[in-house]
Amino acid sequence: MLLQLQRTFAARLLGGKAKGTSPDGLRVDALGFGVHANNTRVSLRIAVENVYPVTRRLVGADFFTAVTERFVATQPPNHGWLSAYGADFPDFVAQYRPAADLSYLADVARIEWARVRAANAPDAPGLDLTALTRVDPETLEGLPLHLHVAASLVYSPFPAFDIWRAHRHNGGDDEQLAQIDLAIGPQTTLVSRPAALEVGVSLLGPGDAAFLSTLAGHSPFGAAYQAAALEEADYDLASRLSDLVCMRALATFIA
């Protein structure tokens, strides 16, 4: 009986029926039920809002509320801890018709999700450069290196990093957005946790972007270097690696 009662009750919490009515077959106070339904919708919506402040600024509060209400109603969470909830929101935004004109929006949202991911990822050591220098050249060529568990690459055909940066603080600057040329070409953003209590967001140069995305695609060190050198003929591997290690972009390796 309790199982069926809860199913009936739950079916109307996120459902689209008119407000102020109680679930069919349950003679409970409609207004009281409305409090629970409202709390459910609003609290889940706020959980998504908290993760995507920049996306919200870009579209305005009303538009964002409409997208998140739709998202929450169609893709509610499956677990009682919400740290992973909202991971699918960028994909949802990408296919949300009313936002179709804002082609960069989903990529900005991806940067925001990568920050949450970076903050919540398990602690793990980063790549040890000294250890890497001890690897003989032949082994190094074929060595698989992986991104650090907290690190993500966000590739966008648009200047998503510039847009994110211009709006990351409250009172985001529409003039700055107006100055961003959407046609300047693709940007790859690295989001990582360079220190225990810090999340970093950096725009990668074309060489670094090629290097890290080749490694992320499970190709070995040698192939990643070649890809980077193709993008930047004078790619300085030693100095670039040292910077990437500082950002804790790479995981420790097993030789």
Partner: protein
């Protein structure tokens, strides 16, 4: 130092750094955290909590275990709670008399239960499983009520007391919730306080609420987003007079104010508790 006679507050992200300040740490004896905010083992939040837990006793307060689910508990949820409890070594662990999950969906809301024998069986079994896994007893919090089920056959006080008898759990009395349920559903607060045995009350919560509903059908809404009202302070004093001093916590987690505002609320609760101790 025991917590019996002391007042804590809920730890909120915006205040974390103040509790790590070596020179002027806020003058509180203990802190309460929302369990599910720390379910990722590792990461920034967990690290901050570990550092704060070295300085302050921590109470772990769950909001999403869904003790009222006839489908049983989410095993991964229980495991993550157990990991957090193992990591933090909390002074208290609490959950709610509510359900928040049905099928594959989690609703992020403390949903109401009909107070029946079946519900008593379901909640007891889920509490047993939780306490077995954690290796300790938990406290179960009374809900803020907005509606009643015609199926209910016992009062909330009777239901909660039976739960403690069946499982050995204690109760967390949320005075604001009791006040809200009294206003919305007509629960007699004096009757509630006299019906529940004093020794099962392990903690008290205080929070603010707002007015909602309609002119014809006003409802109080539990928001945790405002100061404790005078009526709730009065009910708190009545609860302490009945049960004796208990660790008390100021719960303010939406529109979170400055830490100073929370410390003032805590100090007010402490003054009321001190008066009960003197009497």
């Amino acid at each position: 130092m025991g917590l019996e006679n002391s007042v804590g507050i809920g730890l909120r992200t915006s205040h974390c750094e103040r509790f790590l300040d070596q020179n002027t740490p806020p003058p509180l004896i203990w802190l309460e955290v929302l369990a599910e905010n720390y379910f990722d083992r590792g990461g920034i939040r967990h690290k901050m909590l570990s550092m704060i837990a070295e300085r302050y006793p921590i109470s772990v307060h769950g909001v999403a275990l869904s003790l009222g689910s006839p489908e049983g508990l989410d095993s991964e949820h229980l495991e993550r709670l157990a990991s957090l409890v193992a990591d933090v070594g909390p002074c208290l662990v609490s959950e709610h008399l509510a359900w928040s999950r049905s099928g594959e969906v989690y609703y992020n809301e403390l949903l109401p239960l009909p107070l029946t024998d079946e519900t008593l069986d379901v909640v007891s079994a889920n509490i047993d499983r939780t306490q077995d896994r954690l290796g300790r007893t938990i406290l179960v919090e009374n809900p803020s009520g907005y509606l009643e089920f015609e199926q209910s056959i016992m009062s909330e006080a009777t239901f909660l007391t039976r739960l403690t008898e069946r499982t050995g759990c204690g109760l967390l009395l949320d005075v604001n919730n009791l006040f809200i349920s009294s206003f919305n559903l007509g629960i007699d607060t004096a009757e509630w306080l006299s019906a529940v045995p004093a020794d099962v009350i392990g903690e008290i919560h205080l929070a603010g609420h707002e007015h909602g509903g309609t002119v014809d059908h006003p409802l109080l809404i539990d928001t945790h987003g405002a100061a404790v009202t005078d009526e709730v302070w009065a009910l708190y004093a009545a609860a302490l007079n009945r049960f004796g001093p208990r660790p008390t916590m100021i719960e303010w987690d939406s529109d979170v104010p400055s830490l100073e505002v929370l410390l003032e609320e805590a100090a007010r609760a402490q003054r009321i508790m001190d008066q009960v101790l003197v009497a």
